[in-house]
C-alpha cells in the first residue's frame, strides 16, 4: 500500500513534448513509472519517448486508460490543462507548473469542487513519489528507499532533505507528497496528512511547512482530534524570516495568528507533534520517536 500513486498508476504527461516535460517524463520512465503516454495538442498520433502522444486528455483516457496526470504546461495554460484533466476523468492530477495567476487558481478550485474521487496536488510543487514504485514529479529518485515514513511538504528541496535523512536513518519512505507553496493549492497539509494516517504501511509522518497561511495549524489540530494515531515529526521553515515581506496588513488578518513559524510550532507542539527547531534533525528525531524515546524537541 501507499497513497495517491503506485505501480499500477497509469500516468500521462501534459506538456509531454516540451523540454521540461520530456526531461522529467524520461526520468519518471527510468524510475519505473508506468507512463502510458502524453498530451500535446496538435501532435496527436506521434510517438515521443516510445510512448503515444494524444491531442487531448480525453483521448489519452479512452485509448491508454490514463488515471493520473502530471502537468508541465506553461503558467498561462496550466489552469486550462488542470480543468481538462478533471473533465476527462483523471483521478490524480499533479501540477508542477510554477507561476499560475491566483485568479486562475480560484477558478480551478471551484471547478474541481465536488468531483468524486479526484485529487489535485500542487501547483508549484515537486510532485508525488511512492518509493520503489512510482514517481509522478521531479523529485530525485535515487535518494528514496522503500520504507515506512510518509512525508508532506510545501517545499521541494526541503522535501529532498527530509527524504535523504530518512533514508540515511534506515527508515525509508512510503509516499512523499509535495503539496506546493502557492496561496491556493489542490490538496492541503491536513488532507495529505489524512491520506497518510489512513495508509496501513505508513508508520510515521514527517510534516514540513513554512511561514504564511494556517494549513499546518489546521493539520495539527486534526491530528490531535483524531487521537495522534501515528507519530508526526514537524518542521516549519522561516523562523528567521522577516515579517511582512510578502503579505500586507489585510493578509495577516485573514491568516490570523497562525502565520508565523513560532506560532505554528507552538500549536503543533500543543497537538502532540514532535517539532524540531533544526531541519538537520528530522531523520534522527523520527528514528528516536519510533524507538519509543520520548522526544521533547
Amino acid at each position: 500500500m501507499s497513497v495517491l500513486v503506485n505501480k499500477d498508476s497509469k500516468v500521462i504527461v501534459q506538456g509531454f513534448t516540451g523540454s521540461e516535460g520530456s526531461f522529467h517524463a524520461q526520468q519518471m520512465i527510468d524510475y519505473g513509472t508506468n507512463v502510458v503516454g502524453g498530451v500535446t495538442p496538435g501532435k496527436g498520433g506521434q510517438t515521443h519517448l516510445g510512448r503515444p502522444v494524444f491531442n487531448t486528455v480525453a483521448d489519452a483516457v479512452r485509448e491508454a486508460g490514463a488515471d493520473t496526470s502530471i502537468i508541465f504546461v506553461p503558467p498561462a495554460f496550466a489552469a486550462d490543462a488542470i480543468m481538462e484533466a478533471a473533465d476527462a476523468g483523471i483521478k490524480v492530477i499533479v501540477t508542477i507548473t510554477e507561476g499560475i495567476p491566483t485568479k486562475d487558481m480560484i477558478a480551478v478550485k471551484e471547478y474541481l469542487k465536488g468531483r468524486e474521487g479526484l485529487r489535485m496536488i500542487g501547483p508549484n510543487c515537486p510532485g508525488v513519489m511512492t518509493a520503489g514504485e512510482c514517481k509522478v514529479g521531479i523529485m530525485p529518485g535515487f535518494i528514496f528507499s522503500k520504507g515506512k515514513i510518509g512525508i508532506v511538504s510545501k517545499s521541494g528541496t526541503l522535501t529532498y532533505e527530509a527524504v535523504d535523512q530518512l533514508t540515511k536513518a534506515g527508515l525509508g519512505q512510503t509516499t512523499a507528497i509535495g503539496i506546493g507553496g502557492d496561496p491556493i493549492i489542490g490538496t492541503t497539509t491536513k488532507e495529505a496528512v489524512e491520506l497518510l494516517m489512513n495508509d496501513p504501511e505508513t508508520e510515521g509522518i514527517v510534516m514540513i511547512g513554512e511561514i504564511g497561511g494556517g494549513m499546518e495549524a489546521e493539520a495539527a489540530r486534526w491530528i490531535k482530534e483524531t487521537g495522534n494515531k501515528k507519530p508526526v515529526v514537524g518542521f516549519i521553515a522561516g523562523q528567521t524570516a522577516p515579517p511582512g515581506r510578502r503579505m500586507g496588513h489585510a493578509g495577516a488578518i485573514v491568516g490570523g495568528a497562525d502565520d508565523t513559524a513560532a506560532a505554528k510550532m507552538a500549536i503543533m507542539r500543543e497537538c502532540g507533534i514532535h517539532v524540531v527547531d533544526s531541519p538537520a534533525e528530522i531523520g534522527d528525531t523520527m528514528l528516536r520517536v519510533l524507538q519509543g524515546e520520548k522526544v521533547t524537541a
Partner: protein, 402 residues
C-alpha cells in the same frame, strides 16, 4: 508587485471608483504647478502633500501634510521630497522620497460630518475565494482594530461563480451604517472597486480610509494596491509601474540575474536552491549562533554563472562574515555546482570571508572532493548537521558569533 498610491488611484479611476484627486510632482516647483492645476480642476483651496513610497504609516512619519496656500505647498513639498521617511513599515533607515502626490482636500465642511471607513479586497487562502474586509473604524491601523474590536471587522466572501452580487454591496453599505444618498454611493463604490480588483488580477487592495464626504460622496483617500506578478503577462502596461527606487539595489541586481534575493541584517550570507530549503538554511545559521544576512534562492538551475552572480551580490553586503552555500542536487549535479563555486571564487579573486559549501544529492562526494582539493579557503560538508557545525566553528574563528 507593489505600486504607488498615485498609480493605484489611476487604476481605480479607470474603473469608475471615485478617488481623492491628485497630481504627482518630483520637485517643489512642480508641486506648486500641480496645486494650481488641481484647484482649477476640483475647486480645492487647500492641498494635501503626500510622500509616495511603498510603505504604510506615512502620516505618522511626517510624510503627509496639509498645505493651506501655495507657499506652504512649496515649503512642504520641498521638505518631503528627498527626505528619508521612517515609518513602522520601512525599518529604521527609512525610505527616500522621490515623488509627492499633491492631492485635493476632501475633508471640507458641509451638511454632514465627514466619516472614515476601512476596506480591503484580498484572497482568503483558507477558502480559496476573494473577500472584502471592511469596518467603520477607518483611518486607523487595521491590526489594532482587529486586536481591540474584532467584532467591528466584517467580511464578505465572493463566490467565484457569480462574483460580487448587488445584495452584498448593499449589505456592506448598510453594515457601515449608511443610508440615503451615501448608501447608494457606497454600493457604487464597492461594486466598482471589486470589478477593478478582479479585472486587474490584483492580490490586494487596501483603501484606508474610504471617506464619506460632508456632501455624501464616497471616495478612496488612499490606495494600497498589490498586483499579482504571475499575471503581469495579461497586463503588459502594468510592468512599467514597477519602481526600482523602492527596492533594495542588491535585490534589483539579483532579480536581473534571476535570483530571488532578500536582504537581511545578519552576518552570515547564504546561497541555496529552493525557497523552503533557503528559509531552513537561514534557521540553521541562527541555531549555529549567527544571523542570516540574506535569503537567496538560486532556483533549479544552479550553475557557474548563477553561483558567481550570487557570490557577488552577497559579498557587496559589508556585514557578511561568512557564507554558507547549501545545494541539494536533485536534477542539478553537485560536481558541476562545485566546479562553479571554484570557478566563481577564482573569477572574483579577492574573497576574504570563509565559505562553507554543503553539497548533497547527485554526485555529492565528487563535489566535496572538488572543493577539498581546490586549495581554496572553502570548507565542505555533506550532511546538513555538519554544515551547521562548520558554521559554528567558522563564527568562533572570526569572533563574529553572538
Amino acid at each position: 508587485m507593489n505600486i504607488h498610491e498615485y498609480q493605484g488611484k489611476d487604476i481605480l479611476k479607470r474603473y469608475g471608483v471615485r478617488v481623492q484627486e491628485g497630481i504627482v510632482a518630483e520637485t517643489a516647483d512642480e508641486a506648486v504647478e500641480a496645486a494650481k492645476k488641481l484647484t482649477e480642476q476640483t475647486g480645492t483651496s487647500w492641498h494635501v502633500i503626500k510622500a509616495q513610497i511603498h510603505a504604510g504609516g506615512r502620516g505618522k512619519g511626517g510624510g503627509v501634510k496639509l498645505a493651506k496656500n501655495l507657499e506652504q505647498v512649496k515649503d512642504i513639498a520641498g521638505q518631503i521630497i528627498g527626505m528619508q521617511l521612517v515609518t513602522k513599515q520601512t525599518g529604521a533607515e527609512g525610505r527616500k522620497v522621490h515623488k509627492v502626490l499633491v492631492a485635493q482636500d476632501v475633508y471640507y465642511p458641509g451638511d454632514s460630518e465627514p466619516k472614515e471607513y476601512y476596506m480591503s479586497v484580498l484572497l482568503d487562502r483558507t477558502s480559496g475565494k476573494n473577500v472584502i474586509i471592511y469596518t467603520t473604524e477607518g483611518g486607523m491601523d487595521i491590526e489594532e482594530v482587529a486586536e481591540a474590536h474584532p467584532e467591528k471587522i466584517h467580511k464578505e466572501v465572493i463566490d467565484p461563480r457569480v462574483g460580487l452580487r448587488p445584495f452584498q454591496a448593499a449589505k456592506i453599505a448598510y453594515n457601515l451604517g449608511l443610508s440615503g444618498e451615501a448608501q447608494k454611493e457606497m454600493v457604487k463604490f464597492v461594486t466598482a472597486l471589486y470589478k477593478a480588483y478582479d479585472d486587474t488580477d490584483s492580490s490586494m487592495f487596501e483603501i484606508n480610509p474610504v471617506l464619506k464626504t460632508s456632501d455624501n460622496k464616497i471616495l478612496a483617500v488612499d490606495a494600497k494596491v498589490t498586483l499579482d506578478e504571475n499575471a503581469l503577462y495579461r497586463h503588459k502596461d502594468f510592468v512599467a509601474l514597477r519602481d526600482t527606487n523602492e527596492e533594495d539595489p542588491l535585490e534589483v541586481e539579483a532579480s536581473a540575474s534571476n535570483l530571488n534575493y532578500v536582504k537581511l541584517d545578519g552576518n552570515v550570507g547564504c546561497m541555496v536552491n529552493g525557497a523552503g530549503l533557503a528559509m531552513a538554511t537561514m534557521d540553521i545559521i541562527k541555531l549555529s549562533g549567527g544571523e542570516p544576512a540574506n535569503f537567496l534562492d538560486v532556483g533549479g538551475g544552479a550553475n557557474a554563472q548563477t553561483v558567481e552572480a550570487g557570490f557577488r551580490i552577497i559579498l557587496k553586503d559589508p556585514n557578511v562574515k561568512a557564507i554558507l552555500i547549501n545545494i541539494f542536487g536533485g536534477i542539478v549535479r553537485c560536481d558541476r555546482v562545485a566546479n562553479g563555486v571554484v570557478e566563481a571564487y577564482k573569477n572574483i579573486g579577492d574573497i576574504r570571508v570563509p565559505i562553507i559549501v554543503r553539497l548533497q544529492g547527485t554526485n555529492a562526494e565528487e563535489g566535496a572532493r572538488i572543493i577539498d582539493e581546490s586549495g581554496l579557503k572553502v570548507y565542505s560538508a555533506v550532511l546538513l548537521k555538519d554544515a551547521a557545525q562548520k558554521v559554528k566553528e567558522v563564527l568562533a574563528m572570526t569572533g563574529a558569533n553572538a
